[in-house]
Symmetry: C2
Subunit: 335 residues, 2 copies
DNA sequence: ATAAGATTTTTACACGCGTAAAATATTTTC
DNA sequence: GAAAATATTTTACGCGTGTAAAAATCTTAT
């Protein structure tokens, strides 16, 4: 920078000001700098910069599993929002492994992030660690909520979205059974089950919950094996199944196909299957999957802007804010 | 570090040595340090560290599109390999946008990576930029090759894998037509087309290539709309279609289902569809997709270790090495 | 043209750590 | 137990930038 100052005829402190905020120098100066920049292609050493800055411009993004299209999509939006706001996002996936989540947060500490956008697993075991991390850095949670931790939460209103789906299914045919994993990795699963119970109660139908054994992130495998078994056994009390998420539904649809069961809302169909999340592949299942679309973009952008606001005002907000977006019904062929 | 040196009773230079390589200090000293570390939880400032190190321990990983399960899976393996080798991976997705690839490389420059693992789009337009980047940093390419650039390439042998599939399809039924995008985003697509042509020639069958219009990364959409149109029109000269990749096949399968065409190798089937890549969802299509499995893990690990070797010897290899892994046939129900 | 205000330059120190060289302490070897 | 080999400490400098304070320069309004 010393050298660049020499050849560009600008003093080093002014250059420093320019690189921190191009608008903080006089217009004519900025133009001179940019002219010189186009010739000498100098760029500040980011390590020296971050060493001296009080806060870095880095933002950590941590998601449970990038292999899940839901997270790869939502983190894409988050990432672009960070870049647009002038921050440097650092995307970390926990690869479906809750222990990795802690390691990721630990790794983030060493880059001294300005803030963190975290979609937590939401298990009890990691709660304390996240709370601690949230005290040390500004953190906005998304997708999965941990009531006791961090500045804010942005997600989908599962009560509303499940109720919407139950309502639709009840109006258009038999009331739904509910299919989920026995030990879900995500608090949303519990919210959805409760929402189903409440909604069925409100509609005056008895609930029927079916829980699949198995853990991990191979939801399709579990949906296919366990769901297929339930179908084959004729276990479902009604001809309609609401799956806790699309990936389970995708597995179950493939099992139904293998069993020769015709799924859909047509007259010749004997089974209806619905999901939740509007997974990218739900348009291409056979039949295409009726589901609930979460507003990915809205969730991602609000989470990001909420964090940015915290960073700019530099004051931790006095009270925790939770924002829930509504899901929308996507009527396709499976239910 | 000064303070930590004081309270731990170890000199700062020794601590510095320890943090760069815990084994470079005497055993007893290391234990004293680690005991103190467990009490005071000090950690080196990574920015000060990287400012002074000749080379950082950062490794950039750039993939065209994390939303594509192929890349999310392979980059997961690559990422873990980097961590296991003591490096700090930085995962960047170009979000399906070739221009973003250049921006990602540009962003990587400022973190002065020790090396980069790059799965390029492979378009002509970015060639020069990648070559230039490859001269400034050690880069190992994977998935898509650019003959003229970087240290090494690791990928799948498309000629072998396509031949394997063509061989199987010819043995088990009518010889395949080939379905692909007209203007593919990836050089592998061209390799596969040529492999198909050669293989059909070798088997003594006339080739039939069908190219879908459309660009971008919505392969399923294109496979569904264009592939569906071809099916409806009875355009395919044989009853067997080999798709250039699984995502096209997934789209085409959904179109076939909508058209009421029974796909598979059974007696009652009128159409066979095969893919390439063993996409995570190919097990759950209806019917499940016969395809070629790439050895994700082998490709990812070899790419990573090849880069590490370059970094450790500190010498750019004299000649470029290309390694191709063989694909394996995954026989499922669709063909 | 001139004074007030805004911007830039000069000067200087700080950040936290890598690293080199010489002195000292510790361990190993015979 | 002494000498040799090894490890640690001391001392000092450098990395590339942020930032503060005072001086110098430029811009704007009168």
């Amino acid at each position: 920078m010393e050298d660049f100052a020499a050849v560009s005829g600008i003093s080093r402190p002014t250059l420093s000001k320019y690189f921190n905020n191009p608008d903080s120098v006089r217009r004519s100066t900025r133009e001179r700098i940019e002219r010189a920049l186009s010739i000498y292609d100098y760029r500040p050493n980011i390590y020296a910069v971050n060493q001296n800055r009080r806060r870095t411009k880095n933002i950590g993004i941590v998601v449970p599993n990038l292999a899940d299209p839901f997270f790869s999509e939502i983190s894409r939006v988050v990432e672009l929002a960070c870049i647009a706001a002038g921050y440097s996002p650092l995307l970390l996936s926990s690869h479906g492994n809750p222990a990795q989540e802690g390691q990721n947060l630990e790794a983030l500490r060493s880059i001294k992030p300005a803030g963190v956008l975290l979609a937590p697993f939401g298990r009890l075991s990691e709660r304390a660690e996240i709370e601690r991390f949230g005290r040390d850095f500004p953190v906005v949670l998304f997708d999965a909520n941990i009531e006791s931790a961090c500045e804010a939460f942005v997600g989908t209103n599962n009560a509303q979205s499940i109720d919407l789906m139950v309502e639709y299914l009840c109006r258009s045919g038999e009331p739904p059974c509910f299919f989920e994993m026995k030990s879900p990795t995500n608090p949303n699963a519990n919210k959805r089950r409760n929402a189903y119970l409440e909604s069925m109660d409100r509609h005056g139908f008895p609930p029927h919950i079916y829980q699949a054994k198995g853990d991990g992130w191979d939801f399709e495998v579990i949906g296919s094996s366990e769901g297929g078994r339930l179908i084959a056994d004729g276990a479902f009390k009604t001809n309609t199944v609401l799956c806790s998420n699309d990936r389970l539904a995708i597995g179950m649809l493939s099992a139904a196909y293998k069993l020769g069961r015709k799924v859909g809302h047509g007259a010749d169909c004997t089974l209806r299957i619905a999901g939740h999340d509007d997974h990218p592949f739900s348009r291409f299942t056979c039949p295409s999957l009726t589901t609930i679309a979460q507003d990915y973009a809205a969730i991602a952008n609000l989470a990001a802007t909420t964090l940015f606001k915290t960073l700019e005002t530099d004051a931790r907000p006095s009270e925790r804010v939770e924002t829930l977006f509504e899901g929308t019904l996507v009527m396709r062929d499976s239910a």
